[in-house]
């Protein structure tokens, strides 16, 4: 199937076939990463600009490794020490990036929708590395890849996503990637941290809401725990971190309610002792480190599909 998408902004409107194509390409990239020389020339001569207006280490490094594995030239523009700090508008930054001539812009920004703004105003291909609360499509795809590798066909599998759903671009992108692959999602977390529309019967297709985490985890096939930001308590959304950890933290006892081999995932970075017990984070069920490895491969796959295939190089 010829890849059609110019950008990767969110996977909410992707077909199952498109998601499958990314996962297949990811497998090929996993193979390349397993070689002694983890390099392929698919993006040689191409420039990938990493524009991270919101700070991040793991995602940015992951994209950098992915781009370099494909032999691309990589430039980093980060929030600190850049014009972004001096108050340069997003519009000015886009104009500058366009003038500098990148082939691919990988961007992370605190404003939901920022990648659409950029994609409208540049000829480069845009990959969204996280926009506000809205989407983190590469995380959703790497979680789908990880779960498929662990569980096989995801049809009929029930996956729990627990945490601050309202503010989570990871939750939204996990839903967007996993539901088309046949999985059903149970959302769990404090009611104040789940969108009101998703608590009263209008949950997204393929998802339900269960505030009681114990009940949600009973017989589940996998769980994805989300990072809790301490600021939520200050905003009056939570009485205390302590109560959150006791009610919605992934403890050994809770995790044991799932199916015997059900894995535990977390997008990182983790607050051990808050949303996840240290023993669970580093225990036998944990696929957290595998997620990181798969992340590089998924990002290689997308860079390849957008800018490295013969068709992409021609256009």
């Amino acid at each position: 199937m010829t890849w059609q998408r110019r950008h990767v902004l969110a996977t909410d409107d992707w077909s199952r076939d498109e998601i499958e194509q990314v996962l297949e390409t990811t497998s090929a990239m996993v193979e390349i990463l397993g070689r002694p020389i983890r390099r392929t020339p698919a993006l040689r001569g191409r420039t990938v600009i990493l524009f991270f207006a919101e700070s991040s280490t793991r995602t940015r490094v992951s994209f950098e490794l992915a781009a370099k594995a494909l032999s691309a030239d990589v430039t980093n523009i980060t929030a600190s020490g850049s014009s972004v700090e001096k108050g340069e508008t997003l519009l000015d930054t886009v104009r500058t990036l366009t003038a500098l001539g990148g082939d691919v812009i990988v961007m992370r920004h605190a404003a939901s929708g920022a990648p659409y703004f950029v994609a409208e105003r540049t000829d480069a291909a845009v990959i969204n590395a996280g926009d506000g609360w809205h989407a983190h499509p590469t995380q959703g795809l790497l979680d789908a890849y990880t779960l498929r590798a662990a569980l096989g066909d995801l049809s009929g599998k029930r996956i729990v996503i627990v945490g601050d759903i309202t503010h989570s671009r990871v939750a939204r992108s996990d839903i967007d990637a996993l539901v088309p692959l046949g999985a059903s999602i149970t959302l769990s977390g404090p009611p104040t941290l789940v969108p009101s529309a998703w608590r009263c019967g209008t949950t997204p297709r393929g998802t339900t809401f269960e505030p009681d985490l114990d009940r949600a985890l009973d017989g589940a096939d996998a769980v994805i725990a989300l990072r809790l930001q301490k600021e939520r308590q200050h905003a009056g959304l939570l009485p205390s971190i302590r109560e959150y950890a006791r009610t919605w933290g992934l403890s050994e006892a809770r995790v044991a309610r799932m199916r015997p081999d059900a894995p535990v995932l977390h997008p990182g970075p983790m607050n051990e002792g808050v949303e996840i017990a240290a023993s669970v984070a580093h225990g036998a069920r944990s696929l957290i480190e595998t997620q990181v490895t798969n992340g590089v491969a998924v990002r290689m796959a997308l860079l390849y599909l957008l800018a490295g295939t013969p068709e992409a190089r021609e256009s």
Partner: protein, 401 residues
Amino acid sequence: MADLKRDAEKRGLITAPGFIDLHAHLREPGFEESETIATGARAALAGGFTTICAMPNTEPAIDSPGLIAELVARGKAAKAARVLPIATITRGRKGKELADLVELAAAGAVAFSDDGSPVADAQLFRNALEYARAAGRPILEHSQDQALSADGVMHEGVVSARLGLAGMPAAAEETAIARDLSLAKLTGGRLHLSHVSTAGSVELVRRAKAGGLAITAEVTPHHLALTDEWVGGSRAFAWEDEGPRATPYDTATKVNPPLRTAADVRACWAGLMDGTIDAIATDHAPHASTKKDVEYQEAAFGISVFETAVPLLLMGVNAGWGTWDRVVEALTLGPARVLGIEVPTSDLVIIDPGTAWTPTAAALRSLGKNTPLLGRNLVGRVIAAYVDGQLRHDLSAAPTP
């Protein structure tokens, strides 16, 4: 006038008394990059509005007789739509102390409003409703609980949940309206509710009126046609199942009150038709591109409405959601009653109901190009407007620079 009307009607055109707009932001003084009194008054005419009420949230805010006089003078100099001044409720629009309401009315203010903001202090708002009776002018209130809607940039609902944007729940408007109605009852004050936008708000007003409360309410043209789905890229009107699509997060869709659900739009039409809502008012809110060409959360709230109001209303009527007669009433008699004035007899608007057109930035007279209707096919357009018997807007003539 009678000949003009007969002539137009023979050609299949619609005529109506010049429309009266209770709610327009002309941005002058202080924000002239977004609009001036002159450009706003000309854009109003192009939309069929021959009388417009200028909201006082300018810089400085219109809270003194001298500023009122200046506004009136500049309005006259524009030689376009008649400009009526609204004064602030509170000094400097700061929400702390009453402005000199009696003096402001004597200087020509037709109403009082802190629009853009509610009067958050209930005791002060009570005082305003009571004191304004001495001035004999209505209080136009922007009903919004700012705590409930803090940080919100669109309607809180299914679409905001999907787009990952902070929402303003319907309750933020409804709790404020409930407060305002209760205070109107307590004080006997002349309350007018600006830009009502939710089904719940319409119902609150309906019940208050049924109970005998003498209050009035308005709705905007965009709250009678557009939905929160437009923030996600839809360009289907509330009465359409499908429509064209645009890029999501278009800041031209960012407005306060926010675009609501199709069910809310339907309820607003129903409220208009049964008299719960007295007037259609544009809340014309032009913005320079620097205020809108930014991230969604950073963008200013507001839509440039004048020149696309008529097609939106006509298309809603054609979809069967209301009648044209009632729409005209809500654009003329309704606002006139709110202000306590007569509908000017020698103002006329001529509309071509069948013409298909697509708004472009260049075609808009307003300096504010911030409308999500750019590039959208519309049906119906104002082709001429007469003020005091004089032709002041003629679509076939070149636009005045």
